[in-house]
Symmetry: C2
Subunit: 679 residues, 2 copies
């Protein structure tokens, strides 16, 4: 069919249609469903609808486009260019009108549903579609003869101009509404939160006239040990600032079960911990806003991912049921609530909180976030995802089925419970190699690119010194000790005589390996003790047994891919992890790190409201496995305590030590609060 009206083709979407001469490009885009942004609704104010008209021949589209295909620059564009500057070649889509056939390119920054490209290798892009967006509206003035409230007329404007129905407003918005409307001469910009639930749209903030600034959201990964937050611009997903603090609950217990047992032994202990974490969150929000140089009331939303115990303590719910079978959560569903209900006061007064759903009593919203980020349910090959933290969350699956469990690794992988362990900080040993012949090590510390045996190393580390071993260093040194024959498959460190190196020194009734002696320069003596090996064995056995249990459930012997997640997962050397037996065997090039996948999941849920529906659905479909009551978990755990290096260079030193399985149930002789050892 031919049409005498001009043809408008949009790239990159390829959408096309015929429009009468004089049709604004924004209007053409909207009627075709082309993703072209606008906050002011086509009034030439916001400049979000910038487009690039193309001229010349377009064989693919069968058109030749002349320079006169669009109306000339008008006064609005000239004014905008003069004051703000319009990039060369750009037009305002709401001002430029169709005059003839035309090809219009929508640059990425003019798309509403922009994609945020993530850095991590395995990452998918995030499509921007946040719950809270800005809308500019012109509101009818009050009419004494047909009285109605300002809110009703504003709601009417949002309906007519933006198709937002039945908007609600909190009291503090009502309190600012009349001055804002009058100051803006009956135009305002409103931030409106549109939930993915049945909750009605809600006005979060308002500004007189056109508001030219940004609004923000916080993605928070609330871990047992650390709290990490990213402040994201809700228009383009850009991370404006990041910050992290220690979780102050650590003083009540290092790991989750210690905190649960603290509550059991100290009535009101849950309230103390709730207050502690909320206070820390307020400090974090304040700092991150200050770092980004923004007013806290521009933060409209917070997304939380956390394990079940952190989840309950954040919400002010006694976590004691999570410490004993049947590990019942108060609520497993995702929560949307007011930030002020969590005493979060360094945000917009109306700020909304979204807490991702929990998978089970031991598998929390953090595991759900990893699932959202890594999408095992969309993987054709069988993927094992391990989120390594104080507890390890384990997901196994593909497009057919996804299983999840949690395994109580304890904090050894994070450098805690290790004699020379410390947090990842400058001066901490993070990479280790041990010469199989000499049994001498070389290492690298955080803050230096040089190995310890390279010239200039001492100068580089002059300020920090060598202070301890961080999580990834621990894994490497234990794996290297095994490969160099310093310990046997049972994990027993040999004596100087057995091994043939003076670095093996007696310590009590066992031996230790001297990794670094800084005593000459006043630094610490850094050794790996038999106790350290036992702690790592416990941790890695728990991790391995969890993965193995899921593989049993799926009746598979191998996995196709392994994804190591967690802030710490980013630094684990796949080779060493496999030597140590942390993860099931898999081709080394199929073991990748996804970085802080839980944090990424939080960012996805913040920037894309539809992803909340997706994860809430996925969580219901995930098959939950409770390691605490699976007898096979104990079997796998015991079997996994070996460190079975293939080319075992020396005979076993002693009978393999059978380690006690870790306890899930809190109790007086369970996990006791421990003082954190710091570097």
């Amino acid at each position: 069919m031919s049409d005498t009206k001009p043809l408008v083709i949009f790239t990159p979407s390829g959408k096309r249609g015929h429009f009468p001469v004089g049709t604004p490009i924004l209007q053409a885009a909207r009627s075709l469903g082309v993703d072209l942004d606008s906050v002011c609704g086509g009034r030439g104010i916001c400049s979000k609808c910038q487009i690039t008209p193309a001229y010349g021949e377009f064989p693919k589209h069968g058109v030749t486009v002349s320079n006169g295909a669009l109306s000339d620059w008008n006064a609005v564009e000239e004014r905008y260019d003069r004051i703000r500057g319009l990039p060369k070649g750009r037009r305002l889509g709401c001002q430029a009108q169709v005059q003839g056939d035309v090809v219009i390119d929508v640059p990425p920054e003019s798309q509403v549903h922009k994609q945020v490209v993530r850095k991590a290798a395995s990452a998918r892009a995030i499509t921007m579609d946040p719950a809270t967006k800005l809308y500019y509206v012109e509101v009818e003035q009050p009419d004494m003869h047909s009285p109605s409230g300002d809110l009703e007329r504003l709601a009417d404007a949002l309906d007519k101009q933006w198709n937002i129905k039945d908007v609600k407003a909190d009291l503090h918005i009502l309190q600012m509404m009349q001055p804002a409307l009058r100051k803006g001469n009956w135009t305002v910009t409103v931030a409106v939160h549109k939930s993915h639930t049945a909750e009605p749209p809600r006005i979060m903030h308002m500004w007189p006239g056109f508001y030219d600034g940004a609004i923000y959201g916080l993605a928070v990964d609330l871990g047992s040990t650390t709290i990490a937050a990213h402040l994201c611009d809700l228009s383009d997903g850009v991370v404006k600032a990041s910050a992290g603090v220690m979780n102050p609950q650590i003083r009540f217990g290092e790991d989750l079960m210690s905190r649960v047992s603290y509550v059991m032994m100290n009535p009101g202990g849950d309230v103390e911990m709730t207050n502690a974490v909320r206070t820390a969150l307020n400090g974090l929000a304040k700092d991150i806003a200050a770092e980004a140089g923004i007013a806290p009331d521009l933060i409209m939303e917070v997304v939380f991912v956390c394990n079940p115990v952190m989840h309950h303590l954040l919400l002010g719910i006694d976590p004691v049921e999570l410490g004993q079978a049947p590990f019942a959560l108060t609520t497993a569903n995702a929560l949307t609530l007011a930030a002020r209900d969590l005493d979060l006061d360094q945000l917009n007064q109306a700020a909304r909180v979204y807490v991702l759903p929990c998978i089970a009593g031991h598998v929390g919203a953090d595991a759900a976030a990893v699932a959202l980020s890594e999408e095992p349910n969309k993987s054709k090959d069988l993927v094992l995802i391990v989120d390594v933290g104080t507890n390890a969350e384990i997901l196994l699956g593909n497009t057919n089925k996804v299983l999840a469990c949690s395994s109580p690794t304890g904090p050894a992988f994070e450098g805690a419970q290790i004699s020379s362990g410390q947090r990842a900080a400058p001066g901490a040993i993070e990479r280790v190699e041990i010469d199989a012949d000499t049994k001498d090590p070389r290492f690298r510390v955080i803050g230096s690119d040089l190995w310890s045996d390279e010239p200039g190393f001492d100068a580089v580390i002059k300020d920090t010194g060598v202070t301890g071993i961080c999580g990834s260093g621990i894994i490497e040194v234990v794996a290297e000790m095994r490969m160099a024959g310093i310990m046997d498959r049972g994990g027993l460190i040999g004596s100087a005589a057995d091994v043939g190196t003076s670095r093996c020194v007696p310590e009590g009734r066992t031996n230790a390996y001297v990794l670094h002696d800084g005593s000459a320069s006043g630094g610490p003596l850094i050794t790996v003790t038999q106790g350290d090996i036992r702690a790592i064995q416990l941790a890695k056995s728990a991790l391995y047994a969890g993965a193995k249990l899921l593989m049993d459930k799926l009746e598979v012997k191998n996995v196709d891919r392994v994804v190591l997640a967690g802030a710490f997962g980013a630094h684990i050397s796949p080779k060493h992890a496999m030597v140590l037996g942390m993860i099931p065997d898999c081709a080394l090039n199929k073991v990748i790190s996804a970085g802080n996948a839980a944090g990424t999941g939080a960012r996805i849920a913040l920037c894309n409201v539809a992803s909340r529906i997706e994860i809430e659905r996925l969580v219901r479909e995930i098959h939950k496995v409770e390691t605490a009551v699976e007898p096979k978990f104990q079997d796998h755990f015991v079997a996994a305590s070996y460190i079975p290096h293939d080319s075992d260079p020396f005979v076993e030193l002693a009978k393999v030590v059978t380690l006690p399985a870790p306890r899930f149930n809190a109790g007086s002789n369970g996990a006791k609060p421990r003082r954190r050892r710091r570097g």
Copy 2:
């Protein structure tokens, strides 16, 4: 069609059906839609489903019912009767089973939708159907192998057992949920609020096992001068306690416009007034709970009715726009919000507030409540409803159309701005008669049934004395003065010589009438001054002009009925009101008092959630008239200043004085804050 299954007939509904032998009566009632209450869902716990089986012949229903038509008393009923006592002849509907044809009477107290009979003459009954009700549920225990949150299982139970879908819970409910479920051995009673809006059902409170107590709501009439509250049992609507306090905002200005002008002249004045009224409301809630002997956390809901300025100040919204054209409300719609958002802390933590809609900038939620109570929209004859207070709300209409306006009468009708005026309290003159011949008065005071000229009067009032004149007394004395020829139709009081009584005494350049001289016993000299007459003329003219304006709009010369509402309306003598010209002429027996109709409207909205839908719809349909900008209002006002008694006994004393019209706009020379004169 015949049916071999027994016939069950319920009275008084007359509903009937055939049911298999063994069917519990409660189940039969439910399947027929008979209104039979149950909180425990038929478990023999709550006893709400008591019924009275009838025996004998029932010619109307064509059945003869024998004693064996129901199963024998069972152990549950015996136990209940032993412990709590079951009234003679009663059975528990959930226990008694059909054995043969039977007639079952459902006593009023066993109906869910009980009716509360109101005392006032014009009153309709309130059908109980509150937003918040109690439900007993049995909840599934957690299953480790199919993990789900306690809330999800509770929500599932409410869905399956009570058909309540997608229930939500505030954080503090989540915080109490796990202990309550376990203490109740997986049974709980929950109070659930089901809104008439799209808002999801919400758990307000929970108790382990079966909760045998009541839950309550507060109906609050928030007036400019007084705040009155009724505490109602939400199961039967019974008022358990009532209380009233002065509105502490009075210190910022006696009438509405004085308070608006206080805000204009004192930045932050709105915050002061908001805090003052909220503090008073907390005190009121605390007192009323104490008086009723109930825990404040059993108060689940509060309904507010108030004029627009009180509405904004309650919500913390600056009322300044209400003081000037176009009198724009921030929001006119009804509001449902959390009581804690209004800092109301002497209630259940989750308590919900419902604020009735406003009709217009001058016609508030109090007028809406009067409309809900008096239902002009359902009246076949044309009814004029006048709610007399510091502002008068006026409604005129019938089934065809309803009009509303507000008229600024000022506080004279409440005894303020009157030289000897006082609040209605013991010692205040409330009834007056003046002998047309002698010009001598007799009167009655609040707290005495005797007239002042009857023997024993002095003894009765010995404790209080005669202290002043209250609102209804003012109306009577002015009307009586006119009828006795003490003043002319222009309102001018004659001299002693003109009138022929020494009770007319000079006061400045005008005269005053001595109503009572208590100086001999140390009491006050109570006179009616020319200034008092002018204040009453202003007030009554405003009231009359408002009514007349609505009659003009409807193009009618007469009304069929007049309803006087307002706490003060209850005491106005229709005859005197008509002599004074407060209300248009109408047959005297067609003028009735509806008492505190606004307060009744608040109770209706509290006890019947469907009435909220009704008033929200009606308010949209009411035709609003803005007196402040209607030139005819001024004309009517001026014309209405006369007091045109038919049998005028003496010639006019002077030219009629033209009074200035009252001001709507607040301003420095408008209404100034005045000190309240008290008795």
